[in-house]
């Protein structure tokens, strides 16, 4: 299917993009990699009057290490999350999540910032961002601010980014000693949207969990931090008993909807199976 007509501006700077947005009013869409936006146009789910292309803005690119945080430019492509050694070392959950995102050709074009700003509750990178406790740097005409991932994802396709604002970069805190990660999803066909997925980051000292961060996706209207499951694991070793307690606690964390694919009870069951699987693998390395 073909997109409806729109006007197009290729922005050369963040400030230029924001002023073009302000001048045009609200009927504007920013374009990053375009691999969510363009299909939505083709399906006529949206029909903006103006598209502002951010992809040639140099300030949105680049991956660098600053003051204990990895700064990942919003325009970083999914494939870079697989190949970049800094991301592998400093943002390992992004590297672990990337191979689960769609297919190679999509990953050549889709961007990390675009995925996070789009906030599809079934997508992988938002959950990885929550589990890694990243901070999202957002530019507005009034200046920039950093929003923690836990406060960034608000609802389906809705984030803390206000109309006209631009996601500049993703800041990932450096891994600490003893950190381990796990990422997996249950999917009918590789590359499709997950029936349920989870990103887990933990810090183990002498086998005991001092910190654990769990985010699930495809279980609700946004990536969901599993607070009760985290609490069930805190200060314990990973073993059959603690894994069973974490799986049980997920019932307090998740309230998945019934949908056309399967009932909520099945989604909760799959989430428990998946979390148990990831934690059992963590046990081997923690």
């Amino acid at each position: 299917m073909k997109s409806p007509a729109f006007e197009y501006i290729r922005a050369e700077s963040v400030a230029g993009a924001m002023s073009a947005y302000a001048a045009a009013g609200d009927d504007v869409v920013y374009l990053a990699g375009g691999h969510s936006v363009v299909p939505s146009l083709a399906l006529r789910l949206q029909a903006p009057a103006l598209m502002i292309d951010l992809s040639e803005i140099a300030a949105l690119s680049g991956i660098s290490f600053q003051d204990g945080w990895l700064r990942i430019g919003a325009m970083t492509r999914h494939v870079q999350a697989i190949n970049d050694p800094l991301i592998a070392a400093q943002a390992p959950l992004f590297a672990a999540a990337a191979p689960f995102v769609a297919h190679p050709a999509i990953r050549n074009r889709g961007t990390l910032g675009g995925s996070l700003a789009h906030a599809d509750p079934a997508s992988e990178f938002p959950a990885a961002a929550v589990a890694m406790r990243v901070e999202l740097e957002i530019a507005s005409p009034k200046g920039t601010r950093r929003v923690p991932a836990d406060e960034f994802f608000l609802d389906i396709y809705e984030t803390a980014i206000e109309p006209g604002e631009i996601l500049l970069a993703i800041h990932v805190p450096s891994p600490v000693a003893g950190q381990v990660i796990g990422f997996d999803e249950i999917v009918r066909r590789q590359g499709d949207y997950a029936m349920v997925g989870a990103a887990v980051q933990a810090v183990a000292k002498d086998g005991v969990l001092e910190d654990i961060s769990i985010a699930l996706f495809s279980v609700g209207n946004r990536p969901t931090r599993a607070v009760a499951a985290q609490a069930a694991l805190m200060g314990r070793v990973i073993d059959d008993a603690s894994i069973a307690d974490a799986k049980a606690a997920l019932g307090d964390d998740l309230d998945p909807p019934d949908d056309l694919q399967f009932p909520a009870t099945m989604r909760l069951h799959l989430a428990r199976v998946l979390l148990g699987r990831i934690l059992a693998n963590l046990e081997a390395v923690a």
Binding site: A5, F6, V38, P104, R109
Partner: protein, 162 residues
Amino acid sequence: MKTDITLTINGDAVREAVEPRTSLADLLRDNLQLTGTHLGCEMGACGACLVMLDGAPVHACLVLAVQASGHKVETIEGLNERGLIKDLQEKFHDRNALQCGFCTNGMLMSAQALLLDNPTPSRPEIREALSGNYCRCTGYEAIVDAISATAKMRSGQAGEAS
């Protein structure tokens, strides 16, 4: 309103005026008669429209022609005329790795990109590389055979795939 774009397609400088909503695939097919780039789903699922953009396979249906301005595009016609995929094409033929052929150009794009990146892929790696390419008639086994055989030939191993 139409926008002027300039880009390199199969080594040739191209200047066109396009509507912003025109996809790269429609530019190739409708404006330039490069109809080897096929359109199946037009939403990035089937892989029939894959082209190389700055050397990496992308869905021409999901890239706006205006976004490709200033960049290099190579289509199946370019790969074919430069003889870069002759061995792949021959192995697809040998292995009956196509029936109707609609998906084949996209399959060749994915295969060529894979083999440049990983000259000795395993069969699971070939399947992963093809995970965004749909084939609705011949099935995938013969296609994996053809790519595996090409990999072995290019890397100097025996010409026959296991």
